[in-house]
Amino acid sequence: MKILVCLKQVPQKDAPLKLNDAGTWIREDVSYEVNEPDAFALEEALRQKEKHSGEVVVVTAGPARAMQVLREALAKGADRAIHLEDDAFVGLDAYNTARAIAAAIKDEKFDLIFTGLQSDDCGYAQTGVILAQILGLPHATIIMHIEKNAGGIRVKRELEAGFFQFVDMPLPAVLTIQSGINKLRYATLIGIKQAKTKPMRKVTLGEVQSAIGANLQKIEKLYAPQKSKHTEFLEGPPAEVAKKLVEKLKNELRVI
């Protein structure tokens, strides 16, 4: 099985974020990490390769800093990496991002393409499905299990409210992976060492420019949410806060 995993670098979960001066994006001087569902997608690809042999290729579109997520993936066991490297990739909408990735892999044939089900920064939940449509491949979303069978694969889709569904589908296919599908591994020291010698292909914006167009959706303004609710903050030493809170639960919220 030859598997492509799309990874996105996003701000770290608890990183304090600030708006840029134009109020259209965040200030980029924060710590980054790999988008969480993408980490599960990579893990799943590595497990499929261990079962069926083959190759795991990782791809990301982002500035120079985004190479870190590729390095980590190579250290965990991916075989090679593709980096669409340009600051401009940060500002692309999901349609353009998918078109850029499709252009970068046009000479390759993958059996499976994985993405995380959505990103922690934009949360479009679309790039994988758009990529499938561009490549003319079947897809399934929010996947919790993958098994190879005679005709292709059987996947387990997560539905809402605790429901699931198995879907049989042919290969090649695109799957968007849900967090929790597996247990993530750590990179080993030897893996980190080997990663340095693994191939990393750089793709410039110029190479994929003709495949993308103007963004069809535009962020006019980014801002802190306006509160619709009055929130009372309790302050003081823990013992005092605990006392105040219980008074509230008893006298105002009336749940004790």
Partner: protein
């Protein structure tokens, strides 16, 4: 005249009630823009649903039919709606942001060389321009997003962004037109099996009056017991955000959020939960929300009635004692 089309959601012949929220959103946008509001249901033998929707204040309802639309597959749904929209152009196509919609709308929008603005929580018409509000960075910020294409523009609305009970009824039933779409052989590539539930839900959190819920801030499995003690002292149920259940620290049936249970207790006490959108949609209807989190910028504080910025491991032990005292 420009048209707004709401595509209601049906699963196995049943209308998903969240569709009423989308009709409410469509009615609100129609009132602001003066555009015509129409609705469509897509499926096989779903005329009854079209009739139900026609009772609401909409100009027309389309019943888009094909035997290949049951069971649901993204291939058939995207194909049928593409054919329909090419014949019945709309400026805006609105749907609820459900797992089913997420599964086929990006494909449909791409097939029509347009875009979908997803997981929207509000819409307004300003200076001749429609602006859609959506959360970004896990709810830490919101963005006003405009559509820059020529159409149609797909918009999917987050659960609970508009009120289903505000949907306006029509003066008389709207006309229903049946549109039969032929979905050719070879379009549908996936073979879905029966929908099932993993195991019988052991815990029905929807009935709980008090819920103590834990998130990543609990740090280790052994610390879950601290939250359990607080839940016991309050006489409530223990719940969790998705990562806790993914780790196996609590069973999946204790998960609150879009992939777990949707709850509305009298008290929702969130311990170390940052408040990712997927969690918030499952508990924002709670009568009162108390949040304890060390990060003062955690989005959970946006919807909390009472907030404590601090280390839960400092606050919860004395809190358990105070609750016990208060209960005598």
């Amino acid at each position: 005249m420009d048209t707004i089309l709401v595509v209601v959601e049906q699963r196995e012949g049943q209308l998903n009630r969240v569709s009423w929220e989308t009709i409410t959103a469509g009615q609100a946008i129609a009132a602001q823009t003066g555009w015509t509001l129409e609705a469509a249901v897509v499926g096989s033998g779903v005329a009854a649903i079209a009739g139900e929707v026609a009772e609401k204040k909409v100009a027309k309802v389309y019943d888009v039919e094909s035997a290949r639309l049951e069971p649901y597959t993204p291939d058939a749904f995207a194909y049928a709606l593409q054919v329909f929209l090419e014949k019945h152009p709309a400026k805006l196509v609105l749907m609820p942001h459900t797992y089913q919609v997420r599964d086929f709308v990006p494909k449909l929008a791409t097939a029509l060389q347009t875009t979908a603005i997803s997981d929207v929580i509000g819409a307004r018409y300003e200076g001749g321009k429609l602006l859609f509000t959506r959360q970004m960075f896990q709810g830490k910020f919101v963005a006003d997003v405009s559509f820059a294409g020529s159409g149609p523009c797909f918009v999917t609305f987050q659960n609970g962004s508009f009120r289903a009970d505000k949907v306006e009824a029509g003066a008389a039933p709207a006309p229903v037109e049946t549109v039969n779409v032929e979905v050719p052989d070879g379009v549908v590539r996936n073979h879905p099996q029966e929908v099932f539930r993993e195991a019988k839900q052991a815990v029905d959190l929807t009935q709980a009056e008090i819920i103590v819920s834990v998130g990543r801030g609990i740090k280790e499995q052994k610390n879950i017991d601290l939250a359990k003690q607080l839940a016991d002292a309050l006489g409530g149920e223990l719940a969790a955000s998705r990562p806790i259940c993914d780790n196996g620290w609590l069973p999946m049936d204790r998960q609150v959020g879009s992939s777990g249970q949707t709850v509305a207790p009298k008290l929702y006490l969130a311990l170390g939960i940052s408040g990712a959108i997927q969690h918030i949609v499952g508990m924002k209807g709670s009568r009162s929300i108390v949040a304890i989190n060390k990060d003062s910028e955690a989005p959970i504080f946006e919807i909390a009635d009472v907030a404590v910025v601090g280390n839960l491991f400092d606050i919860v032990p004395p809190l358990i004692e105070e609750v016990k005292k208060a209960k005598g």
